[in-house]
Amino acid sequence: MIRHQRPTYPCWLLAGGVLLGAAACALAGDHDGRPVLRLATTTSTYDSGLLGAILPAFEKESGARVDVIAVGTGQALALGAAGDADVLLVHARDKEDAFLAAGHGTDRREVMYNDFIIVGPGDDPAGIRGMSSASSALAQIAKREAIFASRGDDSGTHSKELALWKAAGHAPPSNAGWYRSLGQGMGATLRYAGEARAYTLTDRGTWLSQREPLGGLEILVGGASMAENHDPSLINRYGVIPVNPLKNKAIRGKLAAHFARWITSPPTQAAIGAFGRDRFGQPLFLPALAPRAHD
């Protein structure tokens, strides 16, 4: 008599087990018990390594975990407006004011600043080297129709560039042959400028951290360090804004307020001022509390 038994497929069972295990793992989520503060910020603060250097102190002090979402300023503000982030660290003053006016945030505090510089090919075809006003330099570039690479990505740097064009008495240039709107991050824009022998506006931090040979690009306006930058309009201020906790129940309002206090507190401000000195010989960000070169 033939006995009936169920067939077994050990290797399929094993493969299925691995896949199900992964699925279960992923769906179980990543609880490590700590409350999570979601910080939406610009790529410059994260990519430079600043946040990696200072955040562990906050995590220790608060017992919370900080999840950093590094995106463009435009998207960071949108995350706040949608209630998808708890606190913002951004640099686009006009948009931040509009954000607050619309009731998306509780308040704004100055955290730190660095500066923008205009870089371009060493032979400087537009002849802007050493000019003390960024907007006059842009006007000169436009007049000579020298190639200019724009971030074109709604970032804080892009907003600053548009403001400078306005101050130069120019409508923000359309995508003329010499004006190239890239829709790229700062690093990619710098690399493009190097290849295309173009001028561009960059924050000093990214410039310093990408100090690879960039096709002969040099600083033409803004000086070799922040202290030598004589155009106050090139100052790049970073503010912290806790998102309005009334937006939805998931927003950690108290933790966000704690973070805003912490990042503007003297010890953190000192840490910000110290960051980057060893690597670049100059700080990448100056704390808002410290005496400033301009103002």
Partner: protein, 239 residues
């Protein structure tokens, strides 16, 4: 802080990086496998039976429409899927209460949406390649429709494994969607592709290249295992 064009050094870096057992790197590797295998598991569980039904039911009405839909799905732009999932899961969106945005779950969801059409479409194609006479002959041997489907799937195993391999390859190498919905959070939602993007943005080209090589090695290993599984049974079994 190095120049592009250091491909040779990248290989060395990759080896050193792996050998050092760097905790952050291991976390990224683990998360990469977790996300892509989870998406693959769900996509296979859903896509294999669906593809089998579509591949075997040759007389299905509206077959052409279904096929066009699936082929469109196979070519879905990942970044569009990412955007869709992002808007869906945003707290301001319809599924905002789940709190899934910027989590591993969101990444698995996006990857699953991208992988399911691949598994369905390629499984369907693999089964359509099987001799149409096989089904009736199996039925004549007493097979139920489910047994016919299972046996036919096994007959088409190299095509079915190709479907699974393609879905895995798509999931593990995808960057646009996981960046958008995962947020590339260190230790949480950072996977190999988003780490590569970050390191490139930071100008750390050789680290980015090293991560890229790791990604290739991982994909190669899984494909190799899958292909071996496909070959195994064609050979005579040793006692």
């Amino acid at each position: 802080m190095d120049t592009p064009g250091t491909l040779g050094a990248a290989l060395l870096d990759a080896v050193i990086l792996l050998a050092s057992g760097d905790a952050a790197l291991l976390a990224v590797l683990g998360r990469t496998l977790e996300v892509s295998l989870a998406a693959l598991g769900i996509a296979t569980a859903v896509g294999l039976p669906t593809g089998a039904v579509l591949g075997l039911a040759r007389g299905l009405p509206a077959r052409g429409t279904v096929r066009a839909l699936i082929y469109t799905g196979m070519g879905l732009p990942p970044v569009v899927v990412g955007l869709f999932v992002y808007l869906l899961l945003s707290r301001a969106g319809p599924l905002g209460d789940l709190g899934w945005l910027f989590s591993v779950k969101a990444m698995v969801l996006a990857q699953t949406i991208l992988s399911v059409p691949l598994v369905v479409g390629l499984t369907m194609a693999a089964l359509e390649g099987v001799d149409p006479e096989l089904g009736p002959q199996l039925a004549a041997l007493g097979a139920t429709p489910v047994q016919v489907a299972r046996t036919t799937l096994r007959e088409a195993r190299s095509g079915v494994l190709a479907a699974i391999a393609a879905a895995f390859g798509a999931a593990i190498s995808e960057v646009g969607a996981v960046m958008l919905v995962g947020g590339n959070i260190e230790g949480q939602t950072r996977v190999l592709t988003t780490a590569i993007l970050l390191e490139t943005r930071r100008g750390q080209f050789s680290l980015a290249c090293a991560l890229g090589l790791l990604l290739l090695a991982l994909t190669f290993t899984l494909n190799f295992v899958l292909l071996r599984a496909g070959e195994r049974r064609t050979l005579p079994r040793a006692d």
